[in-house]
Subunit: 157 residues, 2 copies
Amino acid sequence: ARPRVGYFYTGKSGDQLLSEKLQKILVSDYQSRPVVVNENVSVYDAIVTMFLEDVGTLFVVDQNSILAGVLSRKDLLRASLGNQELSALPVNIIMTRMPNITVCRKEDLLTDVAMKLIDRQIDAIPVIRETEAGFEVIGRITKTSITRAFVSLGNAE
Amino acid sequence: ARPRVGYFYTGKSGDQLLSEKLQKILVSDYQSRPVVVNENVSVYDAIVTMFLEDVGTLFVVDQNSILAGVLSRKDLLRASLGNQELSALPVNIIMTRMPNITVCRKEDLLTDVAMKLIDRQIDAIPVIRETEAGFEVIGRITKTSITRAFVSLGNAE
């Protein structure tokens, strides 16, 4: 008794269809461009870069362009309160560093990465590609990426 | 020809079901507690409050507990770079103030509020109740709230 109205009747509930649809959204569908700084730049320069690029998280790379750390707005705000000379303080003193960085890959499910953002209470996760030298940063997923995905779902016809 | 398997066949596609499901999620389902400061506190105290409460946005209220302004981490970071004496600088100098504040109500659709977060490039929107004196702040919706909603959708059975 399959209805002849152009849709297959699958016997699935709305929640199941929804869940299945979400299982098809990948990191690569919503990742944005990463903004990186070298690990030798000063905290002052990192803050300026954050404003110029208008991002909430910077990824720190070494001389081989390999992921070395992450800097959040919160890290930079904390450092700026510390009464230190920000232009003399290198970012590698205050950054979160490998192996304590949560990363993802472009073929990961966006819902899994969203769950990591919530569980680890972070704002952004670098999208990486594994190389022999370490992780190369090729994108970023932030709570803004997830919010864009949520809005797109709501606008489905 | 309605299939007898416990579900109504509605003739709707997965995208339509999804969209309809999202149209039922309200601000009140995901709002969190607002963190407010008085408009007379210093920028230094606001930054300390932001760290203690671990939030990315503070709402500023007047002596009648009515919404007067919004302070983002970005506003506070900018002020902290300005070489000013942060404990002598009141927040009402640097805050975004009414009527330039985007607000929402607890009965609004979460997708509409998510769209406002994206369109206006902001991190948080106060949930308000209208009173004769102005807007009383009763909650907040942030990109974290939207990310939580997205994760919940993905976990539907």
